[in-house]
């Protein structure tokens, strides 16, 4: 008799646990930016971000309580550095990711190794891929991550803010009288610039400048000779290594006084973090560029 009761209660309990499991794992299909249909949990609670930019957007959306792991170089905001690390975005540590028991990974289409993504999925972990290639697609990325993490409201608010800051800059640049020729230098040695399919190109154009590397794609290498011939009005250098290196580069360019930017002392150092990650922070980068390219337009930062 007791045995029977025990058996029934065990069956009953396991049924309850089983159905609870189903409730937890409730999923819905969503089409990601790689064009794949991914079954994502309706309410993901253990998210692992596979790129620094995605970590940043999740923090912007105030969804960091759902974030259980991030890549090695996820260093913005500061709090993200404390998350468990799952390798760098180009060299993901499969075992570490799986050990964090994620119910959703958010990755980027270009960069995350395909083989690892496919193995994650074969282990039953959905990977939602984003592919931000332009300011527009950053906005849709924010909206989609917002929808994934049930923070659509906040995401729409963020996109609205980006939109109005961009509008303000468009209004300003519409009144500009000239279009300075800008050489944007990313690498120090070799000299590398940003071609027409990069965020930096888009930002330079939006800030009312002409990108001297626009006839190239991705990140072309330049020789000193080519830079001298291109004769930029403004040179902008991003650097991860700060001031000291900048002085050295300045001294190097000073040897070429026939470059207009050198002659008129218009060489600037900018924070590379504002330009190399596809996040809403790029708008800050845009505002910095505007003030460098068109100082005469009297840009006033808008507070939200």
């Amino acid at each position: 008799m007791f045995k029977k009761i025990r058996a029934i209660s065990i069956i009953g309990m396991s049924l309850v646990i089983f159905s609870a499991g189903i409730v937890c794992a409730e999923t819905r299909p969503m089409k990601d930016q790689a064009g794949r249909i991914v079954d994502v949990p309706v309410s993901p609670n253990r998210v692992v971000s596979l790129a620094p930019s995605i970590t940043e957007i999740i923090y912007d959306l105030k969804c960091e309580d759902r974030l259980k792991g991030a890549t090695t170089y996820s260093d913005f905001p500061k709090a993200a550095q404390k998350l468990p690390k799952v390798g760098s975005y180009v060299y993901l540590d499969l075992e570490k990711i799986v050990s964090l028991k994620p119910d959703l990974c958010i990755g980027i289409k270009d960069g995350n190794p395909k083989a690892i993504v496919m193995r994650l999925e074969s282990l039953g972990i959905p990977v939602y891929a984003v592919n931000p290639r332009s300011i527009d697609s950053i906005q849709s990325t924010v909206l989609e991550i917002g929808e994934l993490l049930q923070a659509s409201e906040k995401a729409r608010h963020m996109v609205g803010e980006m939109e109005s800051r961009i509008d303000y800059i468009r209004q300003l640049t519409a009144t500009a009288k000239n279009q300075p020729r800008v050489f944007f230098q990313i690498g120090i040695s070799p000299i590398v610039s940003a071609g027409s399919d990069t965020f930096i190109h888009e930002l330079i154009e939006m800030a009312g400048g002409i990108n001297l590397a626009q006839s190239y794609i991705s990140y072309p290498r330049f020789s000193i000779e080519e830079v001298v011939v291109a004769a930029p009005d403004i040179m902008i250098i991003t650097s991860m290594a700060r001031e000291k290196v900048f002085d050295q580069i300045m001294a190097k360019w000073k040897q070429w006084p026939n470059i207009p930017a050198v002659k008129n002392d218009r060489i600037f150092l900018v924070d590379s973090n504002l330009f190399d990650r596809p996040t809403p922070r790029l708008i800050e980068g845009l505002e910095v560029l505007l003030q460098i390219i068109h100082p005469e337009l009297n840009f006033k930062p808008v507070n939200f």
Binding site: V86, G87, V90, Y219
Partner: protein
């Protein structure tokens, strides 16, 4: 039972034991930080394939350890065959550029967006065979330095291959470049169950065939005339053994990139310990080489504070000094 058979069984037994120990270690440690204790927990949770430990140990670490063992076996066997056929203690597929040639083929395949199998694999094999042919062509015939010519031509072909690889990399500017770079350093991290299966299907028959020819390798080492008089068809056996080894090496390159020096270190070490009978050395190389790469991969996974490094870095760090030591000694 003849004494050779006894020796083969004894040596294989020891090496298998060693391999199994290293493989168990490989299953126990990993970047998620679970040690021996949790392995015991896994044995408990055998019945529960949904548990996290089960997934990590059997679905992630196990295929990886298996692939490492097979790749290590294939590479050290390749080294053993090359050293026997070319009668040169420094001959090895990696040093002679066979790996480099396969890598060129594989990179071209990757850049053409071909699938790993068969597209990239076939190109890797063609690249490996091409360089083997080139090395043999340069080193035979009338050359100034008879004994060193093989090694020299190998080194030159290898340098040329590296240059072509660098050229192809400098052409690539998109995200694939990172994948290619890590892969070139000898990376075992992306292998899963299906990869392990394909590797097994490709490599295991090669191991058997080479073991079959192991006595012929003994005779070949005594010299061509001697081998011919003992009834060995020198040409056919030399060509087919070189082809099979190159085939194995290009298969490993295709999946794991350039894992260097395994084929140099292991055969020499084993020859020092077990003598120069290839009937004993072939099985010893299969199990010992496997164990060595499993160990190197374990170090690669656990040494870095965060993430992991490619296993090829470790094998080269160990292998290059050994190569220099052998070079000095052979002088």
């Amino acid at each position: 039972m003849s004494s050779v058979v006894k020796q083969i069984i004894a040596v294989s037994g020891i090496m298998i034991l060693f391999l199994v120990c290293v493989m168990v270690l490989g299953l126990c440690f990993g970047s998620s930080g679970t040690g021996i204790r949790s392995f015991a927990e896994t044995i408990e949770s055998f019945s529960n394939p949904d548990s996290l430990y089960y997934t990590i140990i059997w679905k992630i670490r196990f295929p990886r350890v298996l692939i490492a063992a097979m790749v290590g076996a294939a590479l050290s066997l390749g080294g053993l065959v090359f050293q026997a056929l070319m009668r040169n203690p420094l001959a090895e597929p990696y040093i002679l550029g066979i790996s480099g040639g396969s890598a060129i083929g594989a990179i071209i395949g990757i850049l053409l967006n071909l699938s790993r199998f068969p597209g990239v694999s076939i190109l890797a094999f063609l690249g490996g065979m091409g360089t083997l042919f080139l090395v043999l062509l340069i080193s035979t015939g009338k050359t100034l330095l008879k004994k060193e010519s093989l090694l020299l031509s190998g080194v030159m072909v290898n340098a040329f291959c590296s240059a072509v690889i660098m050229f192809l990399i400098s052409l690539t500017q998109d995200a694939r470049i990172h994948n290619i770079m890590f892969w070139l350093m000898g990376d075992l991290s992306s292998g899963g169950k299906s990869e392990a299966l394909i590797m097994g299907i490709i490599l295991l028959p090669c191991f058997v065939i080479i073991f079959w020819f192991s006595n012929s390798m003994n005779l070949l080492l005594m010299g061509k005339e001697m081998a011919l008089s003992m009834g060995v068809n020198v040409k056919i056996i030399t060509v087919s053994l070189l082809m099979i080894s190159s085939f194995m090496v290009s298969a490993t390159v295709c999946y794991c990139g350039l894992v260097g020096f395994v084929g140099l270190v292991i055969p020499h070490l084993l020859r020092l310990v077990f003598g120069s009978d290839h009937r004993v050395l072939v099985p010893a190389c299969i199990f010992g080489g496997g164990a060595y790469l499993v160990l190197c991969d374990l170090l690669a996974r656990t040494l870095p504070h965060q993430g992991e490094m490619p296993a090829g870095v470790i094998t080269a760090l160990v292998g290059a000094p050994v190569f220099i030591f052998l070079l000095k000694r052979s002088e």
